[in-house]
């Protein structure tokens, strides 16, 4: 075995939705060269081992987004990923799987309709009254362009979408790719549907407040776009543009200021009461009792929930900084 090639056995997910009840995994042994991509490995499975092996591919330049798959659970754009790097990372044992096993149609090919539905739901285009016979160009300044950050680089490959654990549990959630698109067009100064879009992504269940903050999307993106950063910006824009209404999620975010102003720390009990409201608090009583029994909420410091909080040193500094730095209101 030279340093330039390595003999390995690659496992691949095989499934045909038309004929198979369950998927299976097949192994293919080959010499992988140091410059080969995961796409080359897939091509060789098809050309040298089994012509029925199916996957999507098109541009081979990391721009069409067709060849996104998962390797050992890691979102991978096959035409961009060096195979040897992954063999090193996973100790020479790699398994090729579709981006979403439950959406598999044939081998690596998935039904991506859920992705496109979510994408369409955020109006991923500039909404504007456009003069059909303009006399001049509609010019964007550098700073207007920069306001969109790198969100326009998305290639809709679905790597983040199918890595998002919130989406896996909650099918209503729009997911990181659609939310990135929502940010892209809402931050475009030519667009006139920003508020409408912010309302769409404010919805409980579907919108930004259902993000679990795991950062899987940022890690998965082959274009290094960092969708969760855009989700954070959408949160901020909802407050800035008066779209955020008072509900459990927004009070939870804003309630941090209230706690920090009082104690410097977050008051863990108060944030629950403040976010839920006194009626909603009832569902947490069982947990509160469990926590009290374990000593996690301290009787000895006084009546629970009322002034049993430690305070930081130099709290006045924090109070002053809140007064002079806060830019948003709920």
């Amino acid at each position: 075995m030279s340093n330039n090639t390595r003999k390995v056995t690659i496992k691949a997910f095989r499934f045909n939705a038309e004929t198979d009840y369950l998927p299976s995994y097949k192994s293919y042994t080959m010499e992988v060269g140091k410059d080969e991509l995961i796409l080359d490995v897939m091509n060789r499975i098809k050309w040298e081992h089994d012509g029925s092996f199916s996957y999507r591919r098109s541009c081979r330049h990391g721009i069409c987004g067709a060849c996104a798959i998962k390797v050992n659970g890691k979102a991978t754009l096959a035409c961009k990923q060096n195979a040897m790097e992954l063999l090193d990372l996973f100790n020479n044992e790699i398994t090729l799987e579709p981006s979403s096993k439950k959406r598999a149609v044939k081998d690596m090919i998935i039904d991506k309709s859920d992705f496109w539905e979510k994408h369409a739901a955020v109006k991923p285009y500039v909404v504007a009254e456009i003069d059909p016979r303009p006399e001049s160009e509609s010019i964007q300044s550098i700073s207007q362009f920069d306001a969109m950050l790198d969100s326009d680089l998305c290639i809709q490959c679905g790597a983040c979408h199918y890595s998002c654990p919130a989406l896996e549990v909650n099918e209503d959630y729009l997911g990181p790719a659609a939310l990135n698109a929502a940010f892209r067009f809402t931050s475009d100064t030519r667009d006139e549907a920003g508020k409408e879009r912010l309302e769409i992504v404010f919805e409980t269940g579907a919108g930004v407040w259902d993000c679990v903050k795991c950062n899987e999307c940022a890690e998965a993106c082959p274009k290094e776009i960092n969708p969760i950063q855009k989700i954070g910006k959408l949160h901020n824009m909802q407050f800035e543009q008066g779209v955020a209404k008072s509900n459990i999620a927004t009070r939870h975010a804003e309630g941090f200021v209230r706690s920090i102003r009082k104690h410097g720390f977050l008051d863990e009990a108060d944030i629950v009461v403040y976010s839920e409201g006194y009626l909603g608090m009832y569902k947490h009583l069982k947990t509160a009792v469990k926590m009290m029994k374990a000593g996690k909420i301290h009787w000895q410091d006084g009546v629970p929930f009322i002034d049993n909080m430690p305070k930081i040193k130099n709290l006045n500094e924090v109070q002053k900084l809140i007064d002079i730095s806060m830019t948003n209101r709920l």
């Binding site: 954070g232 941090f256 900084l321």
Partner: protein, 298 residues
């Protein structure tokens, strides 16, 4: 003077619902001869929620915390993944954007502080491994954890996204993390390999998306149990709170009885170093964990 000296940013949980995290951290430091300065001036990191409301304010408050570590000329260590990520994000933002740094410093000047960017921000887990060294910890083990199969639960904010972690994290790869596994092995415990070790516990949407939160926590714990774990260990008190305090609710959502003690990383180390029962604080758990103290020596 100790070779190892750090400024400790406790975070809010260690000062409230997880006193066992603080006591075990201090006990471990004491056993290892690590000198700790608790940053009593430090405020909440915003836990990503303040950031959702007001990003600039969050940067100002996090920069202020780091200022106090800078004043001591020490690395700021964290004992919560979310504190780590939010502090590291502020540090990264300020160190790479001079205009933002100037705007933040304009506010800090009003309270007589200045953010320089001279202190590193590092989770205690990585301090122990990178700086103190696993071999040196190994030498101090008096209660080998060989009676336990221990499931490492890494917690999102120590792992992802890789580029946000300003300081080194043991070369940790988000898809193949090894630090906790290696620490468990150094303490002579048996690390449990399971696919949810680097997944999300659901803590951050506990209030507004309870179902999502419970399912994520349950999936991780069930996976650990199905791979024969006796207990779970995590460097993040928020993962601990989610999985310890809401364990029975999570079990109900997926139709499984779950009984899994979830230890803080420093509690596990404290157990192996022979710290006292009071320092380890297993009594502060909702899911019964006190028995581990006697089982460790059985």
């Amino acid at each position: 003077m100790s070779k190892f000296e750090y400024a400790l940013f406790t975070g809010c949980t260690a000062k409230q619902s997880t006193p066992e995290l603080l006591s075990s951290t201090l006990a471990v430091a004491d056993k290892l001869g690590i000198k700790i300065h608790v940053l009593e001036e430090a405020s909440c990191c915003g836990a990503s929620h303040l950031q959702d409301f007001d990003e600039f304010l969050a940067h100002v408050l996090n920069a202020r915390n780091i200022c106090y570590a800078e004043k001591l000329g020490l690395t700021m260590i964290t004992i919560c993944n979310t504190c780590q990520l939010n502090s590291a994000m502020t540090k990264h933002a300020l160190d790479t954007d001079p205009e933002l740094k100037a705007r933040v410093n304009e506010k800090l000047r009003e309270v007589g502080l200045k953010y320089e960017g001279t202190s590193e921000v590092k989770h205690f887990l990585y301090t122990l491994i990178d700086e103190y060294g696993l071999e040196n910890i190994k030498d101090k083990v008096t209660v080998p954890l060989s009676n336990f199969n221990i499931a490492p639960f890494y917690g999102c904010h120590n792992l992802r996204s890789t580029d946000k972690h300003h300081s080194k994290t043991y070369g940790e790869n988000a898809y193949v993390p090894t630090s906790l596994d290696d620490l468990i092995s150094a303490l002579e415990g048996h690390p449990v390999d399971y696919s949810h070790k680097n997944k999300c516990c659901g803590f951050h949407v506990e209030l507004q998306a309870t179902h999502t939160s419970e399912v994520l926590a349950a999936n991780a714990m069930v996976d650990a149990i199905d791979n024969n774990a006796d207990l779970m260990v995590t460097p993040c008190p928020l993962c601990h709170l989610k999985m310890d305090t809401y364990q029975d609710d999570a079990g109900k959502v997926v139709g499984r009885d779950i009984e899994l003690p979830v230890l803080h990383m420093p509690q596990m180390v404290a157990l192996a170093l022979g710290c006292t029962e009071k320092e380890i604080g297993l009594g502060f758990h909702v899911q019964k964990a006190k028995q581990l103290f006697s089982e460790a020596t059985a």
